[in-house]
Amino acid sequence: MKYLEEYRDPEIARALVGRIQRMATRRWALMEVCGGQTHTLVKQGLDELLGDAVEMIHGPGCPVCVTPLEQIDKALAIASRPEVIFTSFGDMLRVPGSECDLLAVRARGGNVRIVYSPLDALELAIAHPDREVVFFAVGFETTAPANAMAVWRARQLGVTNFSVLVSHVTVPPAMTALLSDPECRVQGFLAAGHVCAVMGWEEYLPIAATYRVPIVVTGFEPLDLLEGIAMAVAQLEEGRAEVENQYVRSVRREGTLPARELVDEVFELVDRKWRGIGEIPLSGLGLRPAFAAYDAERRFSLGHLQVNEPSECRAGAVLKGQIKPHQCGAFGTRCTPMSPLGAPMVSSEGACAAYFNYGRHRQAATVEG
């Protein structure tokens, strides 16, 4: 397939792996920020190919995984209301809330639908003027422009039965929070290419300078990742800590200005809790007062929600890169994609699900056994 196979060429991959192994004088610990990158690494077995040269620590960039339990519970409460058509991206449907998930709400009679774009949710609202259509606006900076566009369009068209349950998060504050943790082992970052396609990479300059870490804006195909890793290792070996751009075919220094302007018009920075990590100041996006009418949390009085996080789930340690998924006691036994305790076991971008689905634990057991 054009524009994909070029980035999956096994010979170039082998050459890049060789270059990384020759460069590395020690085993460096790099974090790939985005869950999409984790998915590729584990699915293609790149972490295994890199052997002793690089340890990949899987970062918190899975929007499904970090959406706080309170927001999931709010989604469940709203989706259960008879007047509501609740719309969401597919992989939010199986994320466990305190009591159940959106699939269970649907089985009990809730009108829960998968959409591929928030604009499809807006179309639903126009088609069903007698219903309240709510879209679960989650994700990083990547999904923020489309979500902002849906709200902006709703206002422009005067659609009043459309609202969004917002749980947007942003990457740079999370990287800063990770680096501020004394237990942080991350020596360099692969920044999320799609996030930077929207936002550009200037906001990473102070992080690289303050914490003396190389940051390489990296794409999602196998060769992207290997090249990004090679660039980060080269910086570490040479004692540099700069922001570099591997993903030049998509990312410009300033990002995509119309998208940034739209996000800025609709959203403002707010404090946001991250599931498994805790509250990070100014790490989320919330609707600006001018768009408050489209805020589902205001539209539906939800009362106080008592949230119950399973105590056994170590998603926080996984999301901070402190443990690998299979090092959690519940992994693969009490926590599986069939009955997940935590969100990283749900989304295909979650590190736990990637390890489970692509069988890292089973491979390990075979080798050891």
């Binding site: 397939m1 096994p10 699915k43 992989d91 449907l93 199986r94 994609p337 989304s347 689905n357 089973r362």
Partner: protein, 354 residues
């Protein structure tokens, strides 16, 4: 259709005579409308000597050997999709199930649950497609049933079919016969059916329309039987859950390991593109006209040649092998040279956020 059809005489209430465009509840009443439903919309297409008896049950002669029988229900939305419709699918699905046992499909039963309001134009197209699919496969529809339910109690039309096939003692492929050293083949391109349905359902448009691969695969089975006989160890149609789920079941049943080669998987370009866009793995996407064939490595080329001699099997190719390592587990050599496990999925694949 079986079932006593006696036309009630002397109805006091006049029936509507205006052209009826859609199925009404009355078509399930057992009365005159029911008789019209059968007589006008089913029997002309399905007609054969057994069915035309219209007895309470079909009477069949099956010979002295054993028979294979399989039933399946079809609830696909939309009812019509590129490359087929629910009717053709319902015929192919059950016939393929008995073919996977090595049986020659002979007879089919068909049950219809019709939602009030289904346009007759749609029903007719579906019935015509069923009749054509059955005729092409050389099977006859020997008995059936129709029910009409109120609007909202079904999704247009559900079809149940049961296929009956006759078996030969010398040709009994079965999952437990997968043996270390065997080659794993597929008879054609993968994941077309599931992505065709997904594309229509989600209103996704791609450069090239993706068509369902829905087809009766018994001609392929017949060629394998003629060429290799009992050396065909396993036949499996990777429908729901796709190739990954079918191979996991085989690995589990036979207690063997399976190694796939990602670069050998025949995924058509538009299907691969659609999967990439939606974040779906084609290994888990349904097929309706493809067979997984497991044979000893020594006869694999012969099997591929036999399959390619039929139009349905021109895409036949080797995708992996049965190994002694990691019993019960399916692994894959990735395009880039790594390895990974190919697991069973907990439920449907869910499209990713970004």
């Amino acid at each position: 259709m079986t079932g006593t059809i006696s036309l009630p005489q002397g109805l006091s209430c006049p029936l509507p005579h205006a052209a009826i465009e859609r199925v009404q509840l009355g078509h399930g009443s057992g009365g005159k409308l029911s008789a019209e439903l059968l007589g006008d919309h089913f029997l002309p297409h399905f007609s054969n000597p057994v069915l035309d008896q219209l007895g309470d049950a079909a009477v069949l002669a099956l010979g002295a050997g054993e028979v294979a029988i399989s039933t399946d229900s079809f609830v696909v939305t939309p009812l019509e999709f590129p490359g087929g419709n629910i009717g053709a699918l319902a015929v192919h699905g059950s016939l393929n199930d008995v073919a996977m046992m090595g049986a020659v499909p002979r007879y089919l039963t068909a049950g219809f649950i019709i939602e009030e309001g289904l346009p007759f134009a749609v029903l007719d197209r579906i019935v015509v497609a069923m009749a054509a699919a059955a005729a092409e496969a050389g099977v006859t529809i020997v008995t059936g049933d129709t029910k009409v339910v109120e609007r909202g109690k079904a999704d247009g039309l559900y079809i149940n079919t049961t296929a009956i096939g006759t078996l030969e003692r010398s040709f009994r492929p079965a999952p437990h016969r997968a043996t270390v050293g065997d080659a794993i083949l597929v008879t054609g391109p993968l994941a077309s059916h599931g992505m065709a349905i997904m594309a229509v359902r989600e209103g996704l448009a791609f450069e090239a329309e993706i068509e369902s691969d829905s087809a009766c695969v018994s001609p392929l089975v017949e060629r394998l039987r003629a060429a290799l006989g009992e050396r065909v160890h396993v036949l499996r149609d990777p429908t729901r859950g796709g190739v990954a789920s079918a191979l996991n079941e085989i690995a589990e049943t036979a207690g063997v390991g399976i190694e796939l080669d990602e670069q050998a998987l025949p995924i058509p370009g538009p299907v691969a593109a659609a999967c990439e866009m939606l974040g779906l793995d084609p290994l888990y996407v349904a097929n309706e006209g493809v067979v997984i064939v497991i044979v000893p490595e020594g006869v694999a080329d012969q099997a591929i040649a036999a399959l390619r001699a039929h139009p349905l099997g021109v895409g036949a190719t080797r995708i992996g092998r049965i190994c002694g390592a990691h019993p019960g587990m399916v692994t894959m050599r990735t395009g880039i040279g790594g390895t990974r496990v190919v697991n069973m999925l907990p439920g449907d694949q869910l499209p990713r956020i970004c």
